[in-house]
Amino acid sequence: MAGPKYPGFDTLALHAGQSPDPVTGSRAVPVYQTTSYVFRDSEHAASLFNMERAGHVYSRISNPTVAVLEERVAALEGGVGAIATASGQAALHLAVATLLSAGEHIVASNSLYGGSHNLLGYTLKRFGIETTFVSPRDPENFRKAMRPSTRLLFGETLGNPGLDVLDIPSIAGIAHEAGVPLLVDATFTTPYLMQHFELGADLLFHSATKFLGGHGVAIAGVLVDSGRFDWEASGKFATLTAPYEGFHGMDFEEESGTRAFLLRARREGLRDFGACMAPMTAFHILQGIETLHLRMPRHVENTRKVVQFLSSHPSVQAVTYPELPQHPDHALAKKLLPHGCGAVFPFELKGGRAAGRKFIESLRVFSHLANVGDAKSLVIHPATTTHYRMTDADLAKSGITAGTVRLSIGLEDSADLIEDLDRALKAAARA
């Protein structure tokens, strides 16, 4: 007898989290552009506030449009639920603030987006949460950096800037031995390219601004919990396993078991920090997710063609992409990322800053801006933009050079992309 079957990824991307609107019949997800919700009576109001009934009270805590997005991403990732936030940075902050208190410690990969590095390395330090950064290339580095106060391991699934492939199974094993969870930034891989929880991650977040949305019209984040980490058994997370005076003495784990992390993140984090998602933003991101399963293969297909072109171009010093045999994580990428290594990668241009500037200014299809994961192809030259004050020696400390160019490959005709790059490379060679 054949067992029951789960809906496929493509079906979930289109349907999870939403029924046609029962009042209007609207098939698309309606935008519930409202701050608040009418109570049926005083008893109903009290029950909602005291978590005796499910429902919406105030859109900073939950909103029907945002809830569809949260449930859909949770379904695609295989989590117990999700919380949508104002940005990816807000999602990272919400995760850390829900779990850690002053005096506690994080071990993080040093291959991180600059914003995450700033939050962990500087801002949270002011609030008593310290982070030790380690190279993710050897998972044992995480173990060596752990302290008795360590409460979280963190890394990007594809690190910045060298596309280090995070060895999630090994690092999760180290985390779990120590009774702490592994949080990953899954922005570059999306649930289409990697099943993060199946590999061992406990929590993840996306900058939904990037591939989930894909259209570059909305800043958004989403934090997802696998529900697999046993906070009670760990004994290290009083925020989830001890009565909390700030929420009527609630012990979140006792109250809700597998939902404890999300319950506190929503009931405290969204309530107090307030970095919630606007309903219109959720609507925009949902439009993107409905085609995620169609866009990601095309992103990867175009990227492979561009990587191949650049790898043999005389003006290019080197291309960094885990599918290339010379990448240090090539074997790991084959194992963890069988559907492709994403669509964002750096390459080294010969000729330094002047060549880089000329290359950027000669492109016609690629857009020069500070974002990735858009349907349109994007480019940035750190040495003349985000890192322009740095010397070559300082750039090297960040893992880049004066000739480093980062591309985010979009969905255009790959021949047009290659032609654009070829023209700009020739112009750069003359600079």
Binding site: H15, G17, S19, A75, E255, T258
Partner: protein
Amino acid sequence: MNFSIDNRQAFAYTAAHAFDAGKPTLAFLHGAGLDHSTFGLQSRYFGYHGYNVLALDFPGHGRSEGPPVSTIAAMADWALKAVKGRLSIVGHSMGALVALQCANRAPDRVERVACIGVAYPMKVSEAFLDAARRNDHAAYDMETIWGHAAQAPLSGNPHPGMWMYGDMLARLRRLARGVLYNDLKACNDYRSDFENVKCPVLLVLGKRDVMTPPRSAQPLQEKLKNCTTAYVELSGHSLMAEAPDATLDALVRFFSGT
């Protein structure tokens, strides 16, 4: 609340209230492979509305120490030890059979019983039992998929931001090996004439339940002397999650006698 039965640690959720001898007591008994938190909203409601609530974790489930108890009759004996004095009971699925067994075993103590998502006999398919016996993940998949209405994965969750399938799978993955099989076998094997059940019994049945379809509760409706039924539209077997308000409303009406 942690307590001890037969020198083993056990747990009951009390909605953060101390026991008050002046209040009626309501026990909540969970289904196969699950724990007290499946009644999260409903048990909390009664805890804040005049009842001593004890949402139990059966041995080997949630926070209660194993090993699991192997028959419905033994589970009922355990529950009657865990809760002192007179009580009413809300049971879901396996917990509903235990609740009925409690009422049959101790008719002088059990005042009312609400059975959510129940069938009698509670036959479990050989494929499901076999997968659970082998500790195959397919058993968790079966419980998850058959445990919800067919439309559940493609529709909204009343709990904002939560994914029902993911939540159930996460609970099941925390089980020790053999626990789900223990529970399913106990359900499958249980037989009773319910002859001593005299108290009022409410059946709360999901119209889209494929695990315990409403028609399979008919023998109970015939055997139980004081039985009423509330049908819940659009819900499968996980009524507390799929239709939390309708389920709670049915319970409130029943226990308030309205």
